[in-house]
Subunit: 362 residues, 2 copies
């Protein structure tokens, strides 16, 4: 049983704490928030000890890893503190705000001998795994087109009190917050991405700083195309469609249940539409029960135990963040496609020397 | 009862002849194909007189209009012949192959006092009309994102014997052949388009000259975004999703029934998903029976009768063709967004003087 700490005790910490509670591979035993009230209520809700000082959590020899559910802009700072303390670190997506920060983080964690695990959970959805199995079995033929959507109404209720309002805290709004899950899914199903194009818009009457609509076009190294739509002003949608020369698969979940992933299979639909079939005649496949959040935490525990998790490591997090940043770059340049490999290389190179970042915490 | 002739007696002529047969506003009384065998079988199948010479059809004083179902590259030539003969002309989409040709056609028809009607039928689908009514009633709120797909497996079976194999005959493959219907639908639902971006790919093992996958990104003048995916290697899909700040509507038909439009309502689905609702809890709306092909032919008859049809006239056809051409231009330029108004203006200006085109047929 792997013991973990958790830093950042907002809504998402509760989601992960519930997912962890029913695992027999790990448990969360200590938590920290800068707010005393939040510490008290988290300790009460989950029976988890929440010390007053983060140093006490980081110094606890029983903890083998730390889960970070702090706002994006704090990912680097807290991950570096975990590395200094010799703790393996789980970071919610995106790995950091900028590519140069991600390089700093990766370098520091390598030097400290701790593993980085980035919470790119969406690929663990039961339907996504099922599509992957059908692709691998050749049932779809050659892949031609992948299409995914992630919509929710977040921008309609945003206020200046929410960090997601601000471009420097949640770059691109739904792009870095929810569309990023579709980037994970498409990378998992379609393989490496060669280029990214993007177009954004602002439609929310709340008028946050961030864009609230994104359309992304991916060209995979295989030659297939990917399309991602993301809206922060919409009724909830999460779906993925994969078009192959032999068949098309389509998976849809009830997006409003996203935080209670263990219930998603109850209303999810997964279909296999072969050439010549109409959609309503497509084969309806069963969707396995599952909980992507528990699965990802258990994979973090496996990583701590020494089993590599290449779909969740720092390099993977950097690749996905590279797509997010490339999309923003494309949008600023009339939507022209951005060569991903070259863009990531340049983005990583912009960083300050790692010693300087580490130094700020000593 | 309006009497019409039809030129080009391939598969699509049969679709329109069946749609016309049950109309009480028009009838098709004469047909022409360059192939004697095709003329004979069409005459036999539909009881329609098919003279040996196109001149006989064009000179028939009983005919008030001509339906052109010839390959795209012949649209201009035959439309000009109709204009010379003083016949109103129905042209299958796209209006012509190039914008300069469309300008020639429009000018010639205006000079001859005949109306041009372009067969942009998809907006007449019952579900598209229903979405438009819900938009107009304010039930969706402000529009944010429109998404449409049109897939079929055409490229899997293309051969060099088919004009659709060739880039100069079916430019962009599915782009000018089926995605164009989604451009019509999105223009109808979302209003004028400000810019177009596009990315294409070739995935068909048959390897036709044309691209077989397209992703389009539209920015509407309203500020909303539009996304269109089109594949020529896929099981049949035609759907449209419209995201507004109050609700999302989704309409799906059985694409394999496209040529038998009168049956589409039997298996079509139309849903209204309000904010807070999951998709499977969305309101399921009835889909009215209808036949978009009969509807468009009757609108052509109304145009002949003097009632303007601005959603089907030459200017409309030029606007939609402009989007097709802008998408190809964007794809050749790394997918960067193309300003539609400026692009169309330049495309129209490239044309040869109209007299020269007219002259080639006298």
């Amino acid at each position: 049983m792997i013991e973990l700490g958790i830093i950042g005790l907002g809504k998402w910490a509760g989601v992960l704490a519930r997912a962890a509670a029913s695992s027999d591979k790990l448990r969360i035993t200590r938590g920290f928030s800068r707010s005393a009230g939040t510490r008290a209520s988290f300790a009460s809700d989950f029976g988890i000890d929440c010390p007053d000082r983060v140093e006490d959590l980081l110094a606890d020899p029983a903890l083998q890893g730390i889960i970070l559910t702090v706002p994006n802009e704090l990912h680097l700072e807290y991950a570096l503190r975990c590395a200094e303390a010799g703790k393996h670190v789980y970071i919610e997506k995106p790995i950091t705000q900028r590519l140069d920060e991600a390089l700093s983080l990766r370098t520091a964690c390598e030097a400290a001998g701790v593993r980085v695990f980035v919470g790119h959970c969406a690929k663990l959805l039961a339907g996504v795994q099922a599509i992957r199995q059908h692709i691998d079995a050749g049932e779809l033929g050659d892949l031609c087109l992948l299409e995914g959507h992630f919509f929710n109404p977040r921008a309609l209720s945003l206020t200046r009190e929410d960090w997601r309002w601000y471009q420097d805290k949640a770059p691109g709004g739904p792009l870095s917050q929810i569309a990023i899950h579709q980037l994970d899914v498409q990378r998992f199903l379609g393989g490496p991405v060669a280029s990214v194009g993007a177009t954004s818009a602002r439609r929310s009457p709340a008028r946050p700083e961030v864009e609230d609509q994104w359309l992304l076009s991916l060209v995979f190294e295989s030659g297939a195309l990917g399309s991602i739509g993301s809206s922060w002003t919409a009724a909830g949608v999460f779906d993925i469609r994969v078009v192959g020369t032999r068949a098309t698969m389509h998976y849809r979940i009830d997006q409003t249940l996203w935080p209670t992933a263990g219930r998603l299979h109850e209303s999810a639909t997964l279909t296999l539409q072969r050439q010549g079939q109409a959609f309503h005649q497509a084969e309806r496949l069963p969707v396995a029960a599952g909980d992507m959040f528990q699965d990802e935490l258990e994979r973090f525990a496996e990583a701590i135990g020494g089993r590599p998790q290449p779909d969740f490591d720092a390099d993977y997090g950097i690749e996905i963040l590279g797509m997010v940043e490339a999309a923003r770059h494309s949008d600023r340049h009339q939507g022209a496609r951005v060569d991903l490999r070259e863009f990531v290389r340049q983005g990583l190179a912009k960083g300050a020397p790692i010693d300087r970042n580490i130094g700020s915490h000593t």
